[in-house]
């Protein structure tokens, strides 16, 4: 079946295209992009008021399968992704058991096989995520791992991190680090600042992130390995990345929508849906992240989609698990609070969700090149939406964005030429 996206503003960061174009899709691939295409036999969608982009990629999600299916499964996670405008996700290995070997990798891929949304698994850096011995990276790479990470935990030992950065060079994939000196964090649950002092909650000092980011960059420089900083949240972290990139060190980083649009002040009131790791930071940090987003320091926006069932979150603040979901809120929240408010322009936003993450993970994705798979996200930047957590496709509803109003949202998600979500 043919599909014709007519008269849309087509943004393709890979080719630098940003113009009114028609996009013809045939046999699941991009067949033609031109100022005007006539295809009487194609199903035609009028995109005159819409923006046509390569399909969005979320390089940091937690799908909880195997082991914690009450929070999310590959099936419900993929449904959430499609509804949120994402055509592909990279899922972190902190499942139960953790994804530290081929059998778990294959289990996840088997669950993902029937999904339209692409699921790229990330394997553990170390066996059992214990931070001691390297996991079988080669075997997992052959089985489809796109990166390695002990996410949720840092690779604490500098020696193990050094070896991981060296060994992963064989496969050319990055080590993704959750940068947290947990000894220094010492049980902190909220950013250490005036808010933690007011609330009487243990502080999670930004310097505990800064230290690990700096260490990782130094080790990447020393070893020539590739490190990707997960969910950078502090001003210093992005400063270090900026300097590292300038010095041609192989470092990349991602940032979450929530760290870009919220600060620790949101925690006043003890809402556990404002509790995540790393925590919401200060206004100074948020401003620095926004600057780094605009100046190219940050490679990707990633949600760190971390589902928890509501009764798990409905407890005393310090006892609640860290994490919020993000797949179904990222696009409207960012379009409204970052693009509409002028922090970044629309092409840069698209880049951060397409070529950015694809580049970090070496994925041959994120472009509208002729012949490429027809994975497409269509946006309506003028449409106003109200976020309703109870209407999510995700199994969980742990979001601080419930009730937020946004102008701009994804309206159509196309994967392999097939419309998997349509909000028009």
């Amino acid at each position: 079946m043919k599909l014709l996206l007519k008269n849309g503003r087509v943004i393709d960061p890979a080719s630098g295209l940003d113009a009114k174009r028609d996009v013809l899709i045939e046999k699941g691939k991009i067949a033609k992009i031109a100022a005007s295409i006539a295809a009487a036999d194609a199903k035609t969608i009028d995109c005159a008021k819409l923006v046509v982009c390569p399909g969005f990629i979320d390089m940091h999600v937690h799908f909880r399968e195997p082991g914690q299916e009450w929070k999310e499964t590959v099936d419900t996670g993929c449904a959430a992704a499609a509804a949120g405008g994402f055509v592909g996700v990279a899922c972190m290995p902190n499942t139960v058991p953790v994804n530290d070997s081929r059998p778990v990798m294959e289990l996840i891929q088997a669950a993902a096989e029937e999904q339209a949304v692409h699921v790229w698994p990330i394997g553990c850096v170390t066996k059992a995520q214990a931070g001691k011995e390297l996991a079988e990276m080669g075997d997992m790479f052959e089985a489809g791992a796109v990166a390695f990470s002990d996410d949720g935990k840092p690779v604490y030992s500098s020696l193990v991190m050094r070896k991981a950065l060296e060994y992963s060079k064989v496969f050319g994939v990055p080590i993704i680090d959750h940068c947290e000196d947990h000894v220094l964090v010492d049980g902190g649950v909220v950013h250490e600042g005036e808010v933690s002092t007011r609330l009487g909650l243990r502080g999670w000092p930004g310097v505990a992130e800064d230290l690990m980011v700096q260490r990782d960059i130094l080790l990447a420089e020393y070893t020539g390995g590739t490190v990707h900083i997960a969910h950078a949240s502090t001003a210093r972290a992005v400063d270090f990345v900026r300097v590292g990139k300038r010095r041609k060190i192989r470092v990349t980083c991602e940032v979450t929508p929530h760290h870009l649009v919220m600060t620790d002040e949101a925690v006043l009131g003890y809402d556990t849906n404002t509790k995540m790791n790393p925590p919401l930071r200060s206004k100074t940090d948020m401003k620095a992240l926004r600057k780094a987003l605009a100046d190219g320091t940050i490679d990707a926006i990633a949600t760190d989609h971390a589902p928890h069932r509501c009764d798990e979150k409905c407890v005393e603040f310090a006892l609640a698990p860290f994490g919020i979901i993000g797949l179904e809120t990222a696009v409207p929240v960012c379009l409204d609070r970052l693009v509409r408010s002028g922090v970044i322009d629309l092409p840069r936003f698209v880049e951060l969700l397409t070529t950015g993450p694809a580049g970090v993970l070496n994925l041959d994705r994120g472009t509208l090149a002729v012949g490429a798979p027809a994975d497409i996200t269509v946006l309506d930047t003028e449409r106003s939406v109200t976020i309703h957590a109870d209407a999510f496709e995700s199994k969980s509803s742990n979001t601080p964005f419930d009730g937020w109003e946004a102008t701009g949202t994804n309206v159509i998600t196309i994967i392999g030429g097939r419309i998997v979500d349509d909000k028009r």
Binding site: R198, G200, L201, G203, Y270, F317, A318, L319
Partner: protein
């Protein structure tokens, strides 16, 4: 006038007139404690559950006495005797307690924000009897009552709070209350026991006890817990006492008519020496006495009553 909320969760956010209302109402109730028959029918037929998920002797006894003197029916429910220790969530416990139609739940909990969490889900009035390192509003109110008793007011009063500010709910509630009422508060302790940016709560900060004590009208000592030493906040109790303990010589630096306070329990010889704690300027036991009257006032006012109708 009336209190603006049906809960007492913290001092942060309370208006000066609300604080004054509680203190003035407590004055009326204090007299009841001096009578031969220490009981009035004010809260007859009301049910109060004292829900203590953390050990407490002083605060729980004080609340219980306050409830009994007001003729309320008081029920004590503590963590060790409850299903709480069997893994029931706080929300489930609350819903079970509420199914028995209490009018008040007085809660002590080790987790900051636990009473706020309860208040979001409860139909009855929640009184915070201390939540972790966050707030202990009735303690600050009884401290304020005691200060007012001997100093007459708060405006321009110099109050020094000494010790483990980091882990202290008493310190936070007192900083909020005293600065709201116009006092000048200085906190002092080793930097390892001061929370980040505490000065943004409106107090001054120093690490030198002599400076902290100079010219103080009120000196408030906080308990130093042995566990803090074990976590590396200071090298030894001996060194702590030498650098930050209040003794008779140091207390001389304060104003001639300065009072010394302690929320208890005291570590004699650590944060305060016995000669100061038992001296004539100590109001430590007055604090305990006043606690009952202040808690009577709080419970009474939370029913929505006005100050005029009290006692």
């Amino acid at each position: 006038m009336r209190l603006r909320s049906s809960h007492l969760l913290g001092i942060d956010g309370m208006e000066p007139d609300e604080i004054s209302l509680i203190l003035e109402t407590a004055e009326g109730f204090a007299e009841i404690g001096t009578r031969e028959i220490k009981k009035v029918p004010t809260l007859r037929g009301k049910t109060v559950i004292n829900f203590f998920v953390e050990n407490s002797t002083r605060t729980r006894s004080s609340f219980e006495l306050a409830e009994k003197r007001l003729s309320a029916d008081a029920l004590n429910f503590s963590a060790s005797t409850s299903s709480f220790s069997k893994g029931e969530t706080l929300l489930d416990t609350l819903q079970n307690l509420e199914a028995m139609s209490p009018d008040f739940i007085v809660m002590r909990h080790s987790q900051p924000g636990a009473p706020h969490f309860l208040a979001r889900h409860a139909n009855c009035s929640i009184v915070n009897a201390g939540d972790g390192a966050h707030e202990h509003p009735t303690q600050a109110l009884l401290d304020a009552y005691t200060i007012r008793q001997s100093k007459g007011g708060f405006d321009g009063l110099k109050v020094t709070i000494l010790g483990d500010i980091l882990n202290s709910r008493v310190a936070r509630s007192n900083v909020y209350l005293l600065t709201t009422m116009g006092a000048q508060v200085t906190v002092c302790g080793p930097p390892t026991l001061l929370p980040f940016a505490i000065e943004r709560l409106g107090c001054r900060v120093t690490h030198e006890i002599d400076k902290a004590l100079a010219g103080a009208d009120v000196v408030m000592c906080l308990r130093i817990q042995r566990e803090r030493m074990e976590s590396g906040a200071f090298p030894s109790l001996r060194e702590y006492a030498a650098l930050f303990g209040v003794n008779a010589r140091r207390f001389e630096l304060a104003e001639k008519d300065a009072i010394v306070m302690h929320p208890g329990p005291m570590n004699r010889g650590v944060e305060i020496t016995s000669d100061v704690a038992d001296g004539e300027r100590s109001v430590i036991l007055d604090q305990v006495t006043n606690g009952v009257a202040v808690r009577m006032a709080v419970l009474y006012l939370l029913t929505g009553e006005t100050s005029e109708a009290a006692a």
